[in-house]
Symmetry: C2
Subunit: 159 residues, 2 copies
DNA sequence: ATTCAGCCCGAACAAAATTCGGGAGCATTG
DNA sequence: CAATGCTCCCGAATTTTGTTCGGGCTGAAT
């Protein structure tokens, strides 16, 4: 009923209005449709159709509240660099699929370089974080090596 | 009219309803208040008051659309590890404040370990990414060293 | 036992989302 | 050149949602 049904067409024709809508909604996901319409300079009905189309073609992937992790009892965050023992497509895809479902997982980055993945995770405590690494990563035969960096502070970018 | 006016009181008393609201809104930031109320098992008016309180006390920091970077003409993403040349509070704070305003910046992580910061950035092309590093990081006297890892793929976590 | 504070609810009101029919601009076509 | 079909946009009517407000319940302190 919601997400993107298309197999990712190349973003053919996004005009300035579309990009303005994306920028506004990225900054404030709860901007009312009529206020959004006024800001980007079209009628509310038009704006709604645009927004739906953007959502339908996958340009808008979803809307999310940004929640303070501490409020959910997960005050610790970490970036975990993961090096895999093999790099065939199947191993990599399987690791990714498994990773996104791990508890406390915020984001999974498949990166170029010495390490293969960087995982952004949340945890309730240092013990929980250690257990996370031991229980879910260290035991994984696809994982050769991990390095955990505690996040002192995180800030959203503006650009 | 919107953001958090309080100086961040420790999250004293969040009950199960509050946590349910946070979880639902983190998963779907556009869930109507009606539907949200039904899911967490309270009246719409109560739910609205709860949500406002959560927003007011900083537990909810904001709402944002998740936009496909490619749709905004920024198909490349990278994680840039940054090592600073000094670590006094002033230098670190200044770097953070500068970073969040850089164009294409998605998130700034202040981390423990050999590196001081990890920057998540978007760019229009490889050239633009190189220019970003050269123009904004390499020239910064506070920056001792950077290492850029291209992001092949990114996925949101579910837990 | 009474008072009081805090919380929750449900109905009334206001505001927003959504639908729908029609009109303007434009490229193709007879 | 005129006609056709297409796409996109708009604005009013309808439905859904957000929001306010007064009253009732529970539990603790007096």
């Amino acid at each position: 009923m919601s997400s993107s049904p298309n197999p990712a067409p190349p973003y053919a024709s996004l005009d300035d209005t579309d990009r303005a809508i994306l920028a506004e909604l990225a900054a404030d996901g709860r901007l009312p449709n009529n206020a959004l319409a006024e800001r980007v300079g079209v009628a509310p009905s038009t704006c709604l159709a645009r927004t739906r189309a953007l959502h339908g073609c996958g340009a808008i992937r979803g809307f999310h509240a940004e929640v303070d992790p501490a409020a959910m009892g997960l005050p610790l965050q970490a970036l975990i660099s993961v090096r895999l023992s093999a790099h065939d497509r199947a191993v990599v895809a399987a690791f990714r699929a498994r990773s996104v479902r791990l508890p406390g997982m915020v984001a999974v980055f498949h990166v170029a370089g010495a390490d293969d993945y960087v995982l952004h995770v949340r945890a309730a405590s240092a013990d929980a974080l250690r257990d996370f690494v031991l229980d879910h990563l260290a035991v994984d035969p696809a994982v050769q090596h991990t390095q955990t960096s505690l996040i002192f502070e995180q800030a959203r970018g503006l650009g």
